[in-house]
């Protein structure tokens, strides 16, 4: 088997993880080049080829699969650098994007600027037409009104057009016809139709996903074309795969059809990575705890299933797609500690970022961050940060902490301990948001640790959540790039057709699934998957009649019969009861959206395992230092281990520190770290009861 390459572009570094044919993993990082992100990719790929002693062409043509997480879409959105864009709506509804769902955040703050819509009002136009909720045409499309709006767009310099009419997910005829008219009137324009992008009920998320697609689509198209060309020129024979917000990867043409899926591309690879690592460690219920420099990502994986949320918001805009549920908060190594006007110590969400960075980076930062606290507490080693490639400045960290200590009337060390604990509490809150708040008890889950700062915090967060087991893989520092290697290739399909279990037209359900499955087999077939290699899973958006919010529930495969209708209803009742404490078993259930997830698994990464040796880790011990432990309220002398020297079967008892080139693991008193046969660090966390 050939090699597989994962590439994740981050804010500071572009990460590469190469899986060689023998299962060896090579991790490499090069500085990102935000102005032209592909540059860093070219540099990094060249570096890897050199490291392997291959020519660029020989290296690239040896890669079976190249999977890429791109920030282009996300950056286009954050920096608002997309094209001049117009949107067409049903006449009378031009303010869908402006009005959003009506909710104003930050309730008591009346001095908050109103939210800015993606498209200004003069470029949001109505066209005369109307389709009703059952798909009947009440007012046929007035093509003159479409052409008039397009003339207006052209005059205003619009180069990208979104179309989002009411009920187009039931009857797309008018949108499709408008697509044709745009092709005639503005042949150069980029076009996104809501019936293609998100055929789902609720006009705001649908319009938003469509507008986002029209906004990031042109940039994505350019970028992907360039990068796909690079690999093709150098001998790559397959399709370049792009990581999607849905947690699976897709071919470039598929992304070009639904560019919204490329927003949030990188972080979506975290859960697939956890799944893979959990899988080899025989754990099905996993909780991803990923702590980087500026953000913390949390996600739950239950029974080996990728977590999906239909209400995903990216940068304040709903995308309406069932994206991988990765909950992100502003808490990371760079999070700044500060004192509010009531005298309370707070941490984040402001981050020192990469520049100036934490005070201890010695790059001009004077504010105390979590990383500074970790250094002073002894968790980090100023001499061996990033594998010794970066020297940390302990004195600068202490000074920064002292600035907070004085007004708080606390000792510097206590401030450091408090920062550590407060940021943990916020992360615990984020973990609860994805677990307990959805009725999922985290205590039976196993934490998977990711991100450069993850190793110092995860076990403690796990402990507070009542978790007993944590796994920190050696690739924790580049978990997302690794996740891309492990993610499936896949597509999600959605058909909106309102029905009720009380009088379900089961033939129609069979027909719509058959239709989606035919498309799935053909599209994944194009990526080289034989039908038997393609996994199909069905879901329905279900709710009680008149309820507004749906729950996505799994439904049976194959030809459905009347008996399956009750099974579908029961699946909903059970889930509803588990999540919300009650259900109404006698009540028929509305099922409006029908989803199909089709995945083709890449060949499983070969597992590199070693038989377990005896338990002594003495050979990996590199020294000891004084480390603070909150549970003891004091410093202890903790043994330091070189992570790369720890072999399968070795056991490290806390208090101890395990130093790896991309992360540092704190083994707390009473915790025990064991190296598994796959080289993963398994941490056991004692819990009362």
């Amino acid at each position: 088997m050939g090699m597989r390459l994962g590439i994740d572009i981050g804010g500071t570094f572009t990460d590469f993880i190469l899986a060689t044919g023998t299962g060896e993993l090579i991790i490499s990082k090069v500085l990102s080049t935000p102005a032209a992100p592909e540059e860093a990719v070219f540099v990094g790929v060249n570096d890897l080829a050199e490291r392997l002693g291959l020519t660029l062409d020989a290296f690239v043509s040896d890669c079976d699969h190249i999977i890429h997480g791109t920030t282009i879409a996300t950056n286009t959105l954050i920096t608002r650098s997309g094209p001049t864009m117009g949107i067409l709506h049903t006449e009378g509804f031009r303010d869908v994007l402006y009005l959003r769902d009506g909710f104003k955040p930050d309730r008591y703050n009346l001095q908050l600027e109103p939210a800015a819509p993606l498209i200004e009002r003069y470029l949001r136009r109505g066209v005369n037409e109307r389709i009703l909720h059952d798909g009947t045409v009440e007012i046929s499309l007035d093509e003159g009104s479409v052409r008039a709006a397009l003339t207006h767009f052209r005059d205003a310099g619009v180069t990208s057009v979104a179309v989002s009419l009411l009920w187009s997910m039931i009857n797309p005829d008018h949108e499709r016809r408008i697509g044709e008219i745009i092709a005639e009137e503005m042949p150069e324009a980029y076009v996104a139709l809501s019936c293609d992008i998100l055929p789902r009920i609720r006009e705001y998320p649908r319009a938003c996903a469509t507008a986002l697609s029209a906004y990031v689509g042109p940039a994505i198209e350019d970028y992907l074309t360039r990068i796909a060309e690079f690999f093709q020129t150098h001998g790559y024979r397959r399709d370049l795969l792009i990581m999607q917000a849905t947690g699976s990867s897709a071919r470039v043409p598929d992304i070009q059809q639904r560019p919204v899926l490329a927003i949030g591309s990188g972080p979506a690879a975290g859960p697939p990575a956890s799944l893979f690592i959990g899988g080899r460690e025989q754990e099905d219920d996993l909780m991803l705890v990923e702590m980087g420099g500026t953000s913390f990502e949390a996600s739950m994986i239950t029974a080996g299933q990728l977590p999906k949320s239909a209400d995903t918001e990216l940068h304040g805009f709903p995308i309406g797609v069932a994206a991988v549920d990765v909950h992100s908060i502003g808490a990371g190594g760079g999070s700044i500690a500060w004192i509010d006007s009531g005298g309370m110590l707070r941490v984040g969400p402001q981050s020192a970022g990469a520049s100036p960075g934490p005070a201890c980076y010695g790059a001009g930062g004077i504010e105390a961050t979590v990383t500074d606290a970790n250094l002073v507490l002894g968790y980090l080693n100023e001499e061996n940060f990033l594998g010794g490639r970066m020297q940390l400045d302990r004195e600068a960290a202490e000074q920064a902490l002292a600035r907070l200590a004085e007004p708080l009337g606390m000792a510097t060390m206590d401030v450091a301990a408090a920062i550590y604990r407060i940021v943990n509490t916020e992360m615990v809150g984020a973990m609860r948001a994805v677990s307990v708040m959805r009725g999922v008890d985290p205590r039976r889950y196993t934490v998977v640790v990711g991100g450069g700062a993850g190793g110092a915090h995860a076990a403690k967060i796990a402990q507070e959540l009542g978790v007993r087991k944590a796994i920190c893989p050696t690739v924790a520092g580049g978990l997302c790039a690794f996740g891309m290697l492990a993610a499936d290739v896949g597509h999600d399909y959605l058909t909106t057709r309102p029905m009720n279990t009380g009088n379900m037209d089961i033939d129609a359900v069979n027909a719509l699934f058959s239709d989606m499955e035919t498309r799935a087999l053909s599209e994944l077939g194009a990526q080289g998957f034989a039908p038997e290699e393609i996994k199909l899973a069905r879901f329905a958006d279900a709710k009680y009649p008149y309820q507004s919010h749906e729950i996505i529930v799994p439904i049976p495969d194959g030809e459905l019969g009347d008996a399956d209708v009750q099974r579908m209803a029961d699946s909903f009742h059970d889930t509803h009861e588990r999540l919300y404490t009650y259900c109404l078993r006698e009540m028929p259930v509305d099922m409006n959206g029908w989803r199909l997830t089709a995945t083709g698994g890449l060949p499983t990464l070969p597992l590199h395992s070693e038989s377990l040796g005896d338990g002594t880790a003495d050979s990996a011990k590199s020294g000891s230092r004084s480390v603070y432990f909150q549970e003891l309220g004091d410093f202890l002398d903790a043994a330091i281990f070189a992570g790369e020297l720890l072999r399968p079967g070795m056991v490290v008892s806390g208090p101890a520190i395990v130093e790896l080139p991309t992360t540092t693991i704190v083994v707390f008193p009473d915790h025990t770290l064991t190296v598994s046969e796959f080289g993963d660090f398994r941490i056991e966390i004692p819990q009362d009861g």
């Binding site: 408090a418 009680y544 309820q547 999540l579």
Partner: protein, 650 residues
């Protein structure tokens, strides 16, 4: 006439302040912050449980509910109200006090769930159900987990949970004094069934009640986990320290406000029975770190359900003040104790039993908040905001869904979509869809496609109305046109319950009032039947139901608005070209490019004749929009009331 006042608490407050200052904080800053965040997470989870599992759109879409956690003190202190609607959470402690008082310690058991909706037992209005469960730990009652939600029906003679035409509490609907809906962990089947027998749409209400009970049970479960983690003593300490913390920050903030006495008037459109412009008179005294608000001289209570009970009065005052202090200060007794309210009994702001209070959370709550805001505008102009609309024009809409010829399904829905814009502030423009001062943007509207899927209604228009926002240096949030027609039902009955149609959102310091505010039926022949905010009217298929929401008030002189922003507003049709020139004095060369010289001249001419009002309008009945709709063939009716057999003729 006697007066209700919370000034009697002064001594207690002083004692508290004294004890706060000499006791050193017992919790380390870390534990304090950890517990604070953990409580936020508890309340957030309660809210999500309620929102995601509720049935009626007023809860699931419009989010007309609030969850919170209180300690078991007397009165209960708010530990965490997170982002609850001001109009709810500032009243919840009063309702919980009444529950605690009613049952007494002997009758409050672990696993009980209590319900109350009577305004004379500390609630706001009959449509809001307060549900609370005590949290016991090691045999001791420590907390309350509570949720308030607005329900679709309360068993009134009228087909609405906001029956403003009811003239006493008995005709309003089911008055629920403190009641156990669950007893020691078991939902009482007898009580639940009795409740459902007395309301319309029993499936809806059952779903919403179970969802609300689920919310407080979820809160309780998480609080117990916190108690396991922190023990009772620590949380008790926290509960007193979070109050000190809020107290400290509020004290500091209020001390920076100028001492003085300010007065204002604000008006309720009508009482539902033809009496118009009911006046709330407000006198505010800022004295050090205390704000005293007195409503002496306010008009007598009205005949319809436009009266405030004491809880509504207090929380409408605090709502206005909390909007003007740092939003990050936790809203609990430590903060609220700095606000003293007094109001004569028998007035519209403090009605006497058995006066009806069906619409209290809007009418007169919004008018009370306006009156307080107008005083604050004089005291702290930089922090005050211009007026927000008062829900106008909203209805409870009911009918029979006949889209499926085989099943006739009665339905009722409160659509907030056509709700008013918010006021501008000294630093920015107003938001659209702020709805009312009591919710300030905390509601969502029902998506058009959800409305059309669930109900036999087709929406014709839902968008911004040009020139609806109050002009100013900062403009008010725009008003919206929300127009629909019944289809597949025959006809719909509409029970208007809003306010602020004849009294527009006020502008500040040269800013103009918001424009709009009308509710009408457009007949098949194009003529209009225009009604006042409190009203009843029927719309048949082929006719249009039209709601025109007001824009919010503007702030500052429109002639000072950045010409580029005026140009963008005109280009976006937020304002007309005529308004750009006549009100803002901006002259364009072409295509919305301001001509600086011509603009300067134009502004000089306009400013000559201008007297800037600090608060505009200063008299009742200033709105013009609804009157402008009434042409020679149209009709306007004040307070049309439903016939008693409205249901039967649907």
């Amino acid at each position: 006439m006697s007066t209700t006042s919370d000034a009697a608490n002064s001594a207690a407050r002083e004692a508290l302040a004294a004890s706060a200052s000499d006791k050193r904080s017992k919790l380390d800053p870390t534990s304090f912050a950890v517990i604070y965040n953990a409580l936020n997470a508890v309340v957030k989870e309660m809210s999500l449980t309620f929102e995601y599992s509720a049935w009626s759109s007023i809860i699931a879409e419009a989010r007309d509910f609030s969850c919170a956690v209180y300690d078991a003190g007397s009165p209960p202190n708010a530990l965490c109200v997170l982002d609850g609607l001001p109009i709810h959470v500032n009243a919840q402690p009063v309702a919980i006090s009444e529950i605690a008082k009613f049952f007494g310690t002997e009758e409050i058991h672990d696993g009980d769930v209590m319900l109350v909706n009577s305004a004379y037992y500390g609630n706001t209005h009959i449509g809001d159900f307060v549900i609370a469960t005590p949290v016991f730990y090691e045999g001791e009652h420590l907390f309350w987990s509570a949720a308030t939600g607005h329900h679709m029906d309360v068993g009134s003679a009228y087909r609405t949970s906001v029956p403003v035409y009811a003239t006493d509490i008995w005709s309003e609907g089911l008055q629920i004094s403190p009641l156990k809906i669950a007893d020691r962990g078991v939902v009482r089947r007898d009580v639940m069934n009795m409740l459902l027998e007395n309301v319309r749409y029993r499936d809806f209400i059952y779903g919403d009640l179970m969802s609300q009970i689920g919310s407080v049970k979820t809160g309780k479960k998480r609080l117990l986990e916190m108690l396991d983690e922190w023990d009772a003593e620590t949380l008790r300490t926290f509960s007193s320290e979070i109050i000190d913390y809020a107290d400290r920050r509020t004290r500091e903030e209020l001390a920076s406000w100028p001492n003085g006495t300010y007065s204002s008037e604000a008006w309720v459109d009508s009482d539902g029975y033809g009496r118009e412009h009911i006046t709330v008179r407000c006198k505010m005294t800022i004295d050090g770190d205390q704000v005293k608000v007195d409503f002496d001289g306010s008009d007598p209570q009205g005949r319809g359900g436009i009266n405030a009970g004491w809880a509504t009065c207090r929380n409408s005052v605090s709502t206005a003040i909390l909007m003007c202090i740092d939003p990050d200060i936790p809203h609990n007794e430590g903060c609220l104790q700095h606000i003293e309210v007094s109001a004569p009994k028998g007035t519209v702001v403090n009605a006497e039993w058995p006066a009806p209070t069906a619409a209290a959370t809007i009418v007169p709550a919004d008018t009370i908040t306006d009156a307080v805001w107008k005083c604050l505008a004089q005291a702290i102009p930089g922090k005050a905001v211009a007026g927000c609309g008062h829900v106008t024009p909203n209805c409870v809409t009911t009918g029979i869904d006949r889209r499926d010829p085989e099943v006739e399904k009665p339905f009722g829905v409160i659509l907030f979509n056509g709700s008013s814009g918010g006021g501008a502030s000294a630093v920015c423009d107003g938001w659209p869809f702020m709805v009312t001062p009591g919710t300030v943007g905390g509601l969502c509207f029902a998506p058009i496609e959800i409305i059309e899927m669930h109900f036999p209604l087709v929406v014709r228009e839902y968008q911004v109305r040009t020139d609806s926002m109050g002009a100013g240096r900062h403009i008010g949030g725009p008003g919206l046109n929300f127009i629909l027609t019944p289809r597949g039902t025959g006809q719909i009955d509409n029970y208007g319950y809003g306010d602020g149609m004849t009294n527009p959102p006020f502008g500040l310091y040269g800013g103009l009032p918001g424009d709009g505010g009308a509710l009408y039926r457009e007949n098949a022949d194009g003529t209009k039947f225009v009604v006042s905010a409190l009203s009843y009217f029927r719309v048949r298929e082929g006719e249009l139901w039209c709601a025109v929401a007001t824009g919010g008030g503007g702030y500052g002189d429109p002639l000072e608005r950045d010409p580029l922003r005026v140009a963008a507003d005109a280009r976006d049709e937020f304002i007309s070209l005529e308004t750009a020139t006549e009100i803002y004095g901006v002259v364009f060369t072409k295509d919305f490019v301001p001509d600086p010289e011509a603009t300067k001249q134009r502004r000089a001419i306009l400013s000559r004749d201008l007297t800037l009002a600090s608060i505009n309008p200063s008299v009742p009945g200033a709105a013009t929009y609804y009157r402008s709709l009434v042409g020679p063939h149209d009709t306007y009716e004040l307070n049309p009331r439903p016939p008693e057999d409205a249901d039967a003729t649907l």
